[in-house]
């Protein structure tokens, strides 16, 4: 087989996270670890065309990377005698134990890398860029394209993030106890952010950003492998896969959004639904109080299991929103709860619950609040009250197509 750039890029994508993670344990500096990993690839580029690609390219790269790390540590130690003791430690760490031990150690290092890249001391966009680059194996150019920013901006963001981590001497470790919970929340947040960046942009002619959903789901699966006993990790994976299963039904042929009620459920992705439901079952199996990602995944699962919008188990959706509102006090969650309750227990209930939200400051300019109220009023036959609510929703709506639709409904209520 020949070695072309595409093949090398594929090998980089598969091998670089493990490589950087392992090297990081020895050199304790992300910038240096990544540089060493790149050196190993440069060596491969020089040798493989003549000698052929080794049967296990990962092991080859790892061996070269470790050798380079040793050289570097010895060279630095020669300058600084004080470092010699440390370097003896590191050298023994770089010696090769058996294969299974290596596999397990690599996974431990990968997990440390996850927590380092998602460290809460970094700005959100820095965490996102670092995670995609170090754990997703994306190039700076790919990240820049996905986030519609320039390559130099992203490169700078990554360099600065690495420097921040080095200066703060952030230990390369998996946090424990209380800190673990907070840091895990940051990891999950980063992955879900990446997902939503792709999910929110699936309309129009933008074909690159949906790929971010795949990157995020892939990261989610990696996390589920690294932290198999964390229910929320499986919950997040389930949520992403169940949401993504609907992505091709979310827009019509002209790219306009299609509401859940009107989506062609035949177009939902069965492979992702099956995978998502499996991840959700895993989260539930692990037990404990369901966290916000698992609860949202359970809601998504209610939709995934329903043959039609009307046949959705709305009572269960409403109960899940109740639980979610407790864990995640947000006005938008409570509005969704009102909608589900209205579907389950009648428009009267839905209206009462949405009325409770009328004083919420965050919902003041949110078009869906008057839209939901109008919907319930209309269903109750209170057309003269529904009409101005539809009109208000239309004025607040950002999307032109949605606005037109709401104005039409307001007009229809006026003549009813």
């Amino acid at each position: 087989m020949t070695l072309d750039n595409e093949r090398l890029a594929a090998i980089w994508r598969i091998e670089s996270p493990k490589l950087v993670a392992t090297l990081m344990r020895s050199v304790r500096d992300l910038g240096v670890a990544e540089e060493l990993a790149q050196d190993a690839f440069v060596a491969a580029l020089a040798q493989w065309p003549d000698e052929g690609i080794p049967r296990n390219p990962g092991a080859w790269l790892m061996a070269v990377g470790k050798r380079r790390a040793l050289d570097r540590i010895r060279r630095d130690a020669a300058f600084d005698r004080k470092q010699q003791i440390v370097s003896a430690d590191v050298e023994s760490a770089l010696l090769d134990p058996g294969f299974d031990v290596v596999e397990r150690e690599i996974e431990d290092d990968l997990l440390r890398l996850v927590f380092t890249a998602c460290h809460p001391m970094l700005a959100q966009e820095a965490r996102v860029a670092l995670t995609l680059r170090l754990l997703g194996g994306l190039t700076t150019a790919e990240i820049a394209r996905a986030f519609l920013s320039s390559e130099s901006t992203v490169a700078q963001r990554i360099v600065r993030a690495k420097r921040t981590l080095a200066q703060a001497r952030v230990p390369f470790e998996v946090p424990v106890d209380r800190e673990r919970l907070e840091r895990l929340a940051s990891v999950l947040e980063v992955v879900y952010l990446i997902f939503n960046e792709g999910y929110a942009a699936t309309s129009g002619d933008d074909v690159l950003r949906p790929e971010l959903c795949n990157d995020a789901m892939r990261l989610g699966r990696v996390l589920a492998g690294l932290m198999p006993s964390e229910p929320e990790v499986h919950g997040l994976l389930a949520l992403m896969e169940l949401q993504a299963s609907r992505s091709s039904a979310r827009t019509d042929q002209r790219g306009a959004p299609v509401l859940l009620a009107d989506q062609d459920r035949v177009r939902w992705d069965g492979v992702l639904i099956a995978h998502g439901l499996k991840a959700l079952a895993q989260a539930e199996l692990l037990g404990g109080t369901a966290g916000p990602y698992t609860l949202q995944a359970e809601i998504a699962a209610c939709h995934a299991r329903a043959a039609t919008f009307a046949r959705t188990d709305w009572a269960r959706v409403a109960a899940l929103y109740d639980a979610l509102a407790e864990r995640m006090p947000s006005a938008v969650v409570r509005l969704n709860r009102a909608v589900a309750a209205g579907m389950a227990f009648g428009a009267e209930t839905g209206l009462r619950l949405s009325d409770e939200l009328s004083q919420e400051p965050v919902l003041r300019d949110y078009h869906l609040l008057p839209a939901v109220r109008a919907e319930f009023l209309e269903r109750l036959g209170r057309f003269s009250e529904a009409a101005p609510e539809f009109a208000r929703a239309a004025q607040l709506a950002g999307n032109q197509r949605e606005r037109t639709l709401l104005f039409e409904r307001a007009a229809r209520c006026r003549i009813s």
Binding site: R7, R218, G225, L226, S248, R265, H275
Partner: protein, 138 residues
């Protein structure tokens, strides 16, 4: 992009011979690797074609033939569905599968919704809509 990886049959797979415990373990490890890297979406092995059947369509006529089928190399013995960023990445992953003995696998890209465009006609959609309202009425 997604790929279906088709594992072609061999005389052994057609005879219903299962891999030995070492073979199972190696395949298990490979699948675990694929899954942990987030690349594997599904995968299964198939019983020999002697347990299968074929249906041939000609006009209104349907002719059912029970297995086994002769042309072993053209038969399918198993499959994976994997997610990759490029065809090259899919090849890179699947080259690591623990096969030997002349086994051949084939990688085929799976059509996704955006590949279809207008292939789903308004008539098909309308039929779906009617079906769904029938379900609702139940």
């Amino acid at each position: 992009m997604r790929f279906m990886v088709i594992v072609k049959a061999t005389p052994e797979s057609e005879a219903g011979a299962l891999p030995d415990s070492e073979g199972f373990e190696q395949m298990g490890k490979f699948n675990e690797q694929l899954a942990k890297a987030g690349a594997m979406l599904a995968g299964d092995g198939l019983h020999p074609s002697s347990k299968g059947a074929r249906i041939k369509f000609e006009g209104d006529k349907r002719t059912v033939t029970d297995g086994p089928f002769a042309e072993t190399k053209e038969l399918v013995a198993g499959f994976w569905i994997i997610q990759a960023k490029s065809k090259q990445e899919a090849i890179e992953w699947m080259s690591r599968a623990p096969f030997g003995g002349g086994t051949e696998i084939e990688l085929r890209q799976i059509y996704e919704a955006e590949d279809f465009g207008d292939a789903v006609t308004p008539e098909i959609r309308e039929r779906e809509r009617r079906l769904r309202s029938q379900l609702d009425a139940r």
